[in-house]
C-alpha cells in the first residue's frame, strides 16, 4: 500500500498526458519500423503481423523500461536514502508500478488492433492477465532490484544494461515467432526467462489462450531469481547510504 501511494505520486508528476502519449508512441513507432522492415520488405510469413508485434512489444516495453530505469532509481533518490530509513525496495517497486500503469494504459491500443484484425478479447483474459502480471512483476522486480543496487557501486553498469537489454530483445521472440526458430535450437530460448513470459502475453492477447506450462516456467524463474536478487540486495542495501 505504501509503495502504491508512492507510485501515485511518482505517476502524477511523470505521466502527464504527454507522458502517456510517449509511453504508447515508443512501442508503436518500434512496431511501425519492424512492420516495414520485416513484413513489407522481408515478407515475414506471420499473419496479422502488426497485431503480433504490438501484443509482444507492449509487455516487452514494460519489462525493458523498468529494468533500464532501475539503474538510476537509487541515484535519483540519493538524498532520501541518506536521511530516512525506509524499505529500500520501495523506489524500485514504485518504478515498476509506474511502468505497469503505462502498460495497462496501452490496453486500448491492443484492443483497437484486435478490432482492426477482426478479433476480440476472450474470457481467458480475466485470469490470464492477473496471473501474468504476477510473474511479470516478479521477474522484472528481481532484475531491477539487482541492477539498481549494483549500479550504486558501479555506475557504468547502466550502459552495460542497455546492451544487455538489446541482446535480450533479439533473443526473445518479439519480432519473430517461436515456431520460426529451427527445432534444434527451440528449447534454448527457455534459457531466457523473458521468452516464455512474452510468448504467453502474446498468445493471450492474440489467440485468447493461456498456456499454464509456460506460466509455470516463468513462475519458477521468478521465484528463483527473486531469491538470488534478495540475497544480493540484502548484502548491499546497508551500504547504499554510505556509497551513494
Amino acid at each position: 500500500m505504501l509503495a502504491l501511494t508512492q507510485k501515485e505520486i511518482k505517476a502524477r508528476y511523470k505521466s502527464s498526458f504527454l507522458g502517456y502519449l510517449w509511453s504508447i508512441a515508443n512501442p508503436l513507432s518500434l512496431a511501425l519500423v519492424f512492420f516495414l522492415a520485416f513484413k513489407v520488405f522481408m515478407k515475414i510469413p506471420i499473419e496479422n503481423y502488426a497485431l503480433f508485434l504490438i501484443a509482444g512489444l507492449f509487455p516487452w516495453q514494460w519489462f525493458a523500461n523498468s529494468v533500464l530505469g532501475s539503474a538510476g532509481v537509487y541515484l535519483g533518490n540519493a538524498s532520501l536514502i541518506k536521511k530516512i530509513n525506509f524499505p529500500r525496495e520501495f523506489p524500485i517497486l514504485a518504478l515498476i508500478f509506474h511502468d505497469a500503469f503505462h502498460f495497462i494504459a496501452s490496453f486500448p491500443v491492443i484492443l483497437l488492433f484486435l478490432f482492426i484484425y477482426e478479433k476480440h478479447p476472450s474470457l481467458e483474459w480475466l485470469y490470464g492477465i492477473p496471473l501474468l502480471f504476477i510473474v511479470h512483476i516478479g521477474l522484472t522486480f528481481s532484475i531491477a532490484l539487482v541492477v539498481g543496487s549494483i549500479n550504486i557501486f558501479f555506475r557504468d553498469l547502466e550502459r552495460l544494461i542497455s546492451i544487455f537489454i538489446t541482446f535480450l530483445f533479439y533473443f526473445t521472440p518479439v519480432i519473430y515467432s517461436e515456431e520460426m526458430i529451427p527445432t534444434q535450437y527451440r528449447a534454448f530460448i527457455y534459457i531466457n526467462p523473458i521468452a516464455p513470459l512474452i510468448i504467453s502475453w502474446r498468445n493471450l492477447f492474440l489467440e485468447g489462450c493461456f498456456d499454464f506450462t509456460k506460466w509455470f516456467i516463468t513462475l519458477i524463474y521468478s521465484i528463483l531469481m527473486l531469491s538470488v536478487a534478495y540475497f544480493i540486495f540484502n548484502k548491499l542495501k546497508w551500504k547504499f547510504a554510505e556509497v551513494i
Binding site: L2, T5, Q6, I9, R12, Y13, G76, N77, S79, L80, I81, K82, K83, I84, N85, F86, F90, F153, F154, R155, D156, L157, L160, W238, F240, A241, E242, V243
Partner: protein, 243 residues
C-alpha cells in the same frame, strides 16, 4: 529513566571505493588491487563509542569536522549499520536533518512533504491532516508549489525542519540545520525544540553553535577522532572544547 538510544562500543569504518567509483571497467582491470583495497583500506570513523540517551533528554554532540558526528546520527537514523558493536533505538525517528535536502529535486515542496511522510510510515490521511501546519510553519508561502531544486539552502532547511517536527517523532535528529536559517527562523526552531523537550521527546543535536548547544542540551558529548573525549554538562564541555 527509560533509555531510548543505546550505543554499545560502536565501531564504524568506511571502505575507500576508488576503483569502484571508476566503474566496472576500472574495477576489472585493477581486480587484485581493487579487492585488496576494499579489504585493507579502511577508514575508521568511530572507534568504540558508547553512550545512552534517555527519554526526554537532549544530547548535544560537538567536535571538529570529520570526527564522526554525522556518522553517529546516520547510525541512530538507521540508514547505515555499525561495523562492530550494538545500537538500540526505541521510538519513531524524524528524518535526519542536515544540510542539503532530503528531498526529491523535481517534486514540489508539497509533494515532497507527502513523499517524506509516506517513507516515514505515515498514512496519506495523517499527512493530509498535517500538511497545512507543515507549510505554515515553514513560511514558504507560494514556493511550496515550486520544485525543490529552485529552493535556497535556507528554504530547504525550513522545509526539512517543519516536516521533522510535524511527523510526531519520538526522537529528533538535528545536524547543523540551524546554521543556514535566518535569525528569526532559528529562534522559532529553538523555541519549538524547547517545547518538544517539555513533551518528553528526545533530541540529538549536532552543532558548532555553542550558544545553541548550551541553551537546549542537557548533556554534551565531545567527539574527537572517533572516540568520546569528554562527556558532561553543556557548560563545562563546551568550555573545554573552546578552550
Amino acid at each position: 529513566m527509560e533509555k531510548v538510544i543505546i550505543f554499545e562500543d560502536v565501531y564504524k569504518y568506511y571502505s575507500f571505493y576508488h576503483h569502484i567509483y571508476g566503474g566496472i571497467k576500472s574495477f576489472l582491470f585493477n581486480l587484485p588491487k581493487a579487492i585488496n583495497q576494499m579489504k585493507n583500506n579502511k577508514f575508521w570513523v568511530l572507534k568504540g563509542v558508547s553512550f545512552e540517551v534517555y527519554k526526554g533528554e537532549t544530547l548535544g554532540i560537538i567536535g571538529r569536522n570529520g570526527t564522526g558526528k554525522s556518522t553517529t546520527l546516520g547510525l541512530i537514523a538507521g540508514v547505515i549499520r555499525p561495523s562492530k558493536g550494538r545500537i538500540i533505538v526505541k521510538g519513531k525517528i524524524s528524518p535526519l536533518l542536515e544540510l542539503g535536502s532530503g528531498f526529491h529535486p523535481d517534486l514540489t515542496g508539497r509533494e515532497n512533504i507527502i513523499l517524506n511522510g509516506i517513507l516515514l510510515g505515515m498514512t496519506r490521511k495523517e499527512i493530509m491532516k498535517k500538511i497545512d501546519q507543515i507549510i505554515e510553519f515553514s513560511e514558504l508561502g507560494e514556493f511550496i508549489e515550486h520544485p525543490i531544486r529552485t529552493y535556497s539552502t535556507g528554504m530547504l532547511a525550513r522545509l526539512g525542519f517543519s516536516i521533522a517536527i510535524h511527523v510526531e517523532p519520538e526522537i529528533l535528529l538535528i545536524d547543523e540545520i540551524l546554521a543556514v536559517g535566518d535569525v528569526q527562523f532559528q529562534k522559532k526552531c529553538i523555541d519549538r525544540m524547547l517545547s518538544f523537550k517539555k513533551r518528553g521527546i528526545s533530541i540529538v543535536f549536532v552543532s558548532h553553535d555553542m550558544g545553541a548547544v548550551n541553551m537546549i542540551c542537557d548533556r554534551v558529548i565531545w567527539l574527537d577522532s572517533g572516540s568520546i573525549k569528554m562527556e558532561g554538562k553543556p557548560s563545562s564541555v563546551t568550555k573545554a572544547y573552546q578552550g
